[in-house]
């Protein structure tokens, strides 16, 4: 009986080990392959020698990217949209979430409903596009940041954060004669640094990874963010290459390098920021 149990326990442990191995390998191997190809010589890649580590180490693909300039320009615009967009997002989100977290706020329920409804129903891509055009935002960098100036879902998470701050703290400040702006600035914000970081990261990742808006709000690719550059280079180009037809190995190497550049910033950052995401997911799950 005892022996039997320990045997089944061993089998179970082996299964767990296998699962962990599958998870690690299936996630790391593809990334490693992209890294390896991008740093290998074109010849080694063409021969099919490259698997998970660079062969005949070479920076040719990266030199070609720097020489071409398109990717660097995309990188520049991605940083701009992410920084500007996140700044606007965070300000608007805090300004909206704070009053809605206050029990004494007039019309609180109505205003909350006004926002919440937009989570369940939207006018759609085309009317939004026509609106952006009508407002003169088309082909400007503002098209990348204004239509998405706030995500209602993130605002609700922020509001939940604010609601968790003890009421006595703000009441004490109010008795000292502080007005609402002063309470927000001096009491609420210093206590909410971690929550604001969480929301800012949600927004930053959203902006960094977004490509669709750029693809419809710009008529040319000169203000395209990195993700759109990547799409134009890899996805549009690769689908042109028919089955069997060998693509230009040099340009394929460059595609691997572009892909690696586009993944690198988030991959380097995420181990440090993931705990904020975990926290945000938790709060979001408590109450929608």
């Amino acid at each position: 009986m005892m022996k039997d149990r320990s045997l089944s326990s061993k089998v179970f442990d082996f299964l767990l080990f296998a699962m962990c191995a599958v998870v690690l390998v299936s996630i790391i191997a593809p990334v490693l392959n992209i890294f390896a190809v991008s740093f290998s010589s074109y010849d080694a890649f063409a021969r099919g020698d490259v698997s998970f580590w660079p062969v005949e180490f070479s920076l040719d693909a990266y030199k070609a990217i720097i020489h071409d300039g398109k990717v660097l320009q995309g990188l520049k615009y991605s940083v701009l949209y992410t920084a500007l967009g996140t700044l606007i997002n965070v300000i608007l989100t805090i300004l909206t979430a704070y009053p809605l977290s206050r029990p004494e706020m007039p019309f609180r329920k109505t205003i909350s409903m006004f926002f919440a409804f937009t989570m369940f129903f939207s006018g759609g891509t085309i009317p939004t596009f026509l609106l952006v055009q009508k407002l003169g935002l088309y082909n400007t960098i503002w098209a990348m940041v204004i239509p998405n100036a706030m995500q209602v879902y993130n605002m609700i998470i922020m509001r939940t954060f604010f609601q968790s701050i003890p009421f006595e703290l703000t009441e004490a400040a109010r008795l000292d004669g502080a007005n609402d702006f002063k309470i927000l600035w001096d009491v609420i914000l210093p206590l909410s640094k971690a929550s604001i970081a969480t929301i800012a990261l949600f927004y930053a990742v959203m902006h960094w990874n977004s490509w669709f808006q750029a693809s419809i709000y710009f008529s040319s690719s000169d203000k395209a963010p990195l993700q759109l550059v990547l799409r134009n280079m890899v996805i549009n180009a690769e689908t042109l290459v028919k089955s069997g037809e060998a693509s230009n190995i040099g340009s394929t190497s460059i595609n691997y390098a572009t892909l690696f550049i586009s993944m690198l910033p988030m991959m380097a950052l995420y181990p440090f920021i993931q705990k904020y995401f975990v926290k945000g997911v938790m709060v979001g799950s408590v109450k929608g």
Partner: protein, 318 residues
């Protein structure tokens, strides 16, 4: 006469109400001022397009005014329902969402249950952290990876298949492989992040339960089935319901990135069709009508599913 009395009686009260209202507004004007930019933004960029969606009932050309538009009734909706591609679009859309529900949805649950059993905390932490990584890789990057790694001549996957004597497969240009590739990559990108919520629910289960079960001789698999799974069941139900509410709106951007002329007969879904006729072919009214059809159904789904959820699990979105 009676009416006048009634009005007289009403008036002071309603005037008092209005005065009260003014008073609260004056008292809390700062809070109202703070929320104003958000309201204006929401009115313009969220409600504005809802008004703009009226072009679904018109024959709209760019530059037309919506108010004085050329009304067409349900013309575009009828056109969509009788479109030769209609059945195919519905089938493809439902196929992806149902496959997603059956194959993508359970993976984070199983992953969380198994990870919870890993005793070595360092390994556990490492596996969990690595499992989030794909969430931070953009959709474009994931689709680019698929294109590059599955390429029939240079991609590593086909190289590996060749080693085992299997001929190269043109995954991205095949109607047969489109859905498996879509679903597998979806699992790859989302399972770790989706598991967060289950893992934290599991961490709240008291350890004594497992200890006493193991004293009673329950195998670890049995412990999962009798202790772990029931304890995360409420979370599973909520997530499942939310998932059902997205039935018609799955994978818009991903499909746009993955579809091509070779796989389009299985790839094309309602939302990408709307994009194509609306944005690419400039039939704004037609595209909007198709989008509106999906939006209404999705909205209804959320309300219905929420009602069911209220009945079944006493959990509600609002």
């Amino acid at each position: 006469m009676k009416k006048a009395i009634a009005e007289n009686r009403l008036q002071p009260q309603s005037r008092g109400k209005a005065a009260n209202l003014l008073k609260t507004i004056r008292k809390h004007w700062m809070l109202l001022l703070m929320v104003l930019p958000g309201i204006l933004w929401c009115a313009v960029f969220r409600y504005g397009p809802m008004y703009g969606a009226l072009i679904a009932f018109q024959k709209y050309h760019i530059g037309d005014s919506i108010l004085t538009g050329n009304w067409a009734g349900l013309y575009w909706f009828k056109k969509f329902f009788s479109h030769p591609q209609f059945r195919q679009l519905i089938t493809n859309t439902l196929a992806i969402s149902i496959l997603q529900l059956v194959f993508v949805f359970p993976v984070p649950i199983i992953f969380a249950l198994l990870l919870n059993e890993v005793r070595n905390t360092k390994v556990k932490k490492l596996v969990q952290t690595v499992s989030y990584l794909p969430h931070f890789i953009s959709l474009v990057a994931v689709c680019s990876m698929l294109n590059l790694l599955l390429n029939p001549s240079s991609g590593i996957i086909n190289k590996i298949l060749n080693v085992f004597g299997v001929e190269s497969i043109y995954f991205m240009g095949s109607t047969q492989w489109y859905r498996p590739v879509y679903i597998l990559s979806q699992i790859w990108q989302t399972f770790g992040y989706s598991a967060i919520i289950y893992i934290s629910a599991l961490s709240a289960v008291p350890q004594e339960l497992y200890e006493s079960a193991s004293v009673d001789g329950a195998s670890r698999f049995r412990q999962i089935m009798t202790i772990s799974l029931p304890s995360i069941m409420p979370t599973v139900v909520i997530m499942l319901i939310l998932e059902c509410g997205k039935l018609l709106s799955v994978g818009y951007e991903k499909t746009l990135l993955l579809q091509n002329s070779a796989n389009n007969s299985v790839a094309d879904i309602i939302s990408t069709f709307a994009y194509r006729v609306g944005m690419s072919q400039g039939m704004y009214s037609f595209g909007t009508a198709v989008d509106l059809f999906t939006a209404v159904i999705n909205c209804l789904m959320v309300f219905v599913v929420n009602k069911i959820s209220q009945r079944v699990s006493e959990t509600s979105l609002w």
